[in-house]
């Protein structure tokens, strides 16, 4: 008590003043750290675009890789990436959405459902290169799919499955209970409720999740290097559409491939300076695609949210 009594108002004010100074200091430090961090990244990105600027041009998109840096392009890489993304989307969307519907609409609350949920969470934390090893052992050799577009697409589909599942579950959860109950009240079965009412309302969220997943997959390098992507491919996979019956062919699924991040990695690792401009240009394009996909996801989420008024 004596100690407290000796604290005069002046002492308290001085202490408070000091503490308030610390407060202000932290605001400045926090702001500076954040700005510094974002600024460093911004400078790096701008530098990347500047380094690659000399290579942007029609030729860069329509040329195959070459021994000469100024003649090399990303044609085979861009086509490879497109094909892989197509397979990935085609596999990850139905499987991810179905798994999410099961967990959100059907699954009873028991230990078995718990195991599935823990698995989904854990898979999101597995290093991506481990998916590559899984695919190398399982898809490439056990299933005999080879070092193909199909193997790469399946691998990346597994990789983004947790992202699609989590996003879809969130979208399903945000549909109000009342809508389900109204449909049940009219005699709809569970699948009819899900198909006709819950899913249409969740489309925006599901698409957002898929695009975010694909934007992650498009930049993944390690897993597809592991399954054996080649970095020097001077041919295109067979075209999926042909002029004669049956018009579609699936040869391209078994084709060897390269992809944008692989091509960039290959160029970065060359000691020759001239190739580094190519790497920068490929990196800038890759970065642009990622940002574009994310912007698209945000736009879709916004559009669908505006259309729905519960």
């Amino acid at each position: 008590m004596a100690a407290v009594a000796q604290l005069t108002l002046k002492d308290l004010r001085a202490g408070l003043g000091w503490r308030k100074q610390l407060d202000k200091l932290f605001v400045i430090v926090g702001l500076l750290v954040m700005i510094a961090c974002l600024a460093i990244l911004a400078i790096l990105f701008l530098d990347l675009v500047r380094d690659g600027a000399s290579r942007f041009g029609w030729d860069f998109f329509t040329s195959f890789p070459s021994r000469k840096a100024e003649r090399a392009g990303i044609l085979s890489a861009a086509v490879g990436t497109t094909m892989i993304m197509f397979v990935t989307a085609l596999v990850a969307l139905p499987v991810g959405v179905a798994a999410a519907i099961y967990l959100e609409e059907y699954a009873p609350k028991n230990w078995f459902t718990g195991i599935i949920e823990i698995n989904v969470t854990n898979l999101a934390g597995v290093p991506s290169i481990v998916y590559g090893l899984l695919a190398l052992g399982l898809f490439v050799y056990q299933f005999g799919l080879g070092q193909s577009v199909l193997s790469a697409g399946l691998t990346l589909a597994l990789l983004i499955l947790p992202i699609v599942i989590v996003a879809t579950r969130e979208a399903l959860r945000s549909v109000p209970k009342a809508i389900r109950e109204a449909a049940y009240g009219l005699g709809a079965t569970r699948w009819e409720v899900t198909r006709d009412h819950v899913l249409p309302y969740s489309t925006g969220g599901i698409l957002t999740g898929l695009i975010l997943g694909l934007s992650r997959a498009i930049g993944e390098t390690a897993p597809i290097i592991t399954i054996g992507a080649l970095s020097f491919i001077a041919f295109l996979p067979p075209s999926p559409v042909s002029g004669e019956f049956p018009f579609l062919n699936f040869e391209w699924l078994r084709s060897e491939f390269t992809a944008m991040p692989i091509q960039m990695f290959n160029w970065v690792s060359r000691p020759d300076q001239a190739f580094q401009a190519n790497a920068a240009a490929a990196g800038a394009i890759l970065l642009g695609m990622t940002l574009l996909m994310n912007a698209l996801a945000i736009w879709i989420r916004y559009r669908f949210r505006k259309r729905i008024n519960w």
Binding site: Y102, V130, L133
Partner: protein, 308 residues
């Protein structure tokens, strides 16, 4: 009431039976899709263990864990995992030395001090940064950060773990900051108000009430960051060099577990050779390291969990 003919009632019932049957079938299909996640986990463990079992027929576990050289591709092959583990731990340490202080500061600032508008602008940007392909960060590390560091530290080799670690750190700052911020926002308002009422300033409230209250979430953010750093592949494969070396000195070149796997995959090793098997053994060690950190994280999170 007899307006509905009996046949139509019967028809409705048979259609109901069809619809119910279809429901069961759909449920089964959906369940199978859900099981894909479980199968993936099982398949990962099985493939890693199965393929490494061949490796451990040639190499004893004792040699694997104690030998100080890792040269499976040389004529004089040595199979000690320690150099790869030391490379992985060193880059991870450098990354965390950047990411934890910077990420935590940003999280505290955004959650407790930043004006609403600023927070709503910065958070999506941070989340966007999480989507940048890691190979792009590898380019930064090798061609921008390393030349800069070479001016500061004379004699720094062109490939080194310092630059790779710094860039990985910068790369995981957004994860630590956004997940940490989410955890701090979840601390209820009345706890802050109680603290203000006792005469604490914002900083005191942030450090003594909000951070302890959100500790389990912050720990989760750190664990996420560590997992990212340990599993990061392209940055180290590009910028840290690919020679396995038992060293904890970040200014030296070295290989991490992940970089080794990439190095072997780039070459054309025949299926079934010892080099091919060795990447699965390395992958197994990588999984175990990630697992150890996650188990620690699980217990930390539980230990510090605060229920409101």
């Amino acid at each position: 009431m007899n307006a509905v003919p009996a046949t139509r009632v019967a028809g409705a019932f048979s259609s109901l039976r069809f619809r119910k049957g279809r429901d069961r079938l759909v449920e089964l299909i959906l369940l199978l899709a859900g099981l894909v996640a479980v199968f993936t986990t099982i398949a990962i463990v099985c493939v890693l263990v199965y393929e490494s079992s061949f490796f451990f027929r040639t190499v004893s576990i004792g040699e694997f864990l104690t030998d100080t050289m890792w040269t499976p591709l040389f004529a004089d092959a040595r199979y000690g995992i320690l150099p790869l583990v030391s490379g992985t731990l060193t880059t991870t340490m450098v990354a965390l030395l950047v990411a934890i202080p910077v990420g935590t500061t940003i999280a505290i600032y955004l959650s407790e001090f930043a004006p609403h508008r600023l927070r709503e602008t910065v958070k999506p940007i941070l989340e966007l940064l999480g989507a940048v392909p890691t190979v792009v960060y590898g380019y930064f590390a090798l061609l921008m950060v390393t030349p800069l560091l070479q001016k500061l530290i004379p004699g720094l080799p062109g490939f080194n773990m310092l630059s790779a670690g710094l860039v990985i750190g910068l790369m995981i700052v957004p994860y630590v900051a956004t997940v940490g911020e989410d955890a701090m926002r979840a601390v209820p308002r009345y706890m802050r108000e109680g603290s203000y009422a006792m005469g604490a300033t914002r900083l005191q409230t942030a450090l003594r009430v909000v951070v302890p209250g959100a500790l389990s979430g912050i720990a989760a953010a750190y664990i996420l960051g560590i997992s990212r750093a340990v599993g990061e592949t392209m940055v180290v494969a590009i910028a840290a060099g690919m020679q396995p070396q038992l060293t904890f000195n970040p200014t030296e070149p070295a290989a991490t577990i992940t970089a080794y796997i990439v190095q072997v995959s780039l070459g054309d090793l025949p299926h079934g050779s010892i080099g091919y098997q060795s990447i699965f053994a390395a992958g197994l060690v990588l999984m175990l390291i990630t697992l150890v950190f996650n188990v620690i994280g699980f217990f930390l999170t539980r230990r510090f969990r605060e229920a409101y």
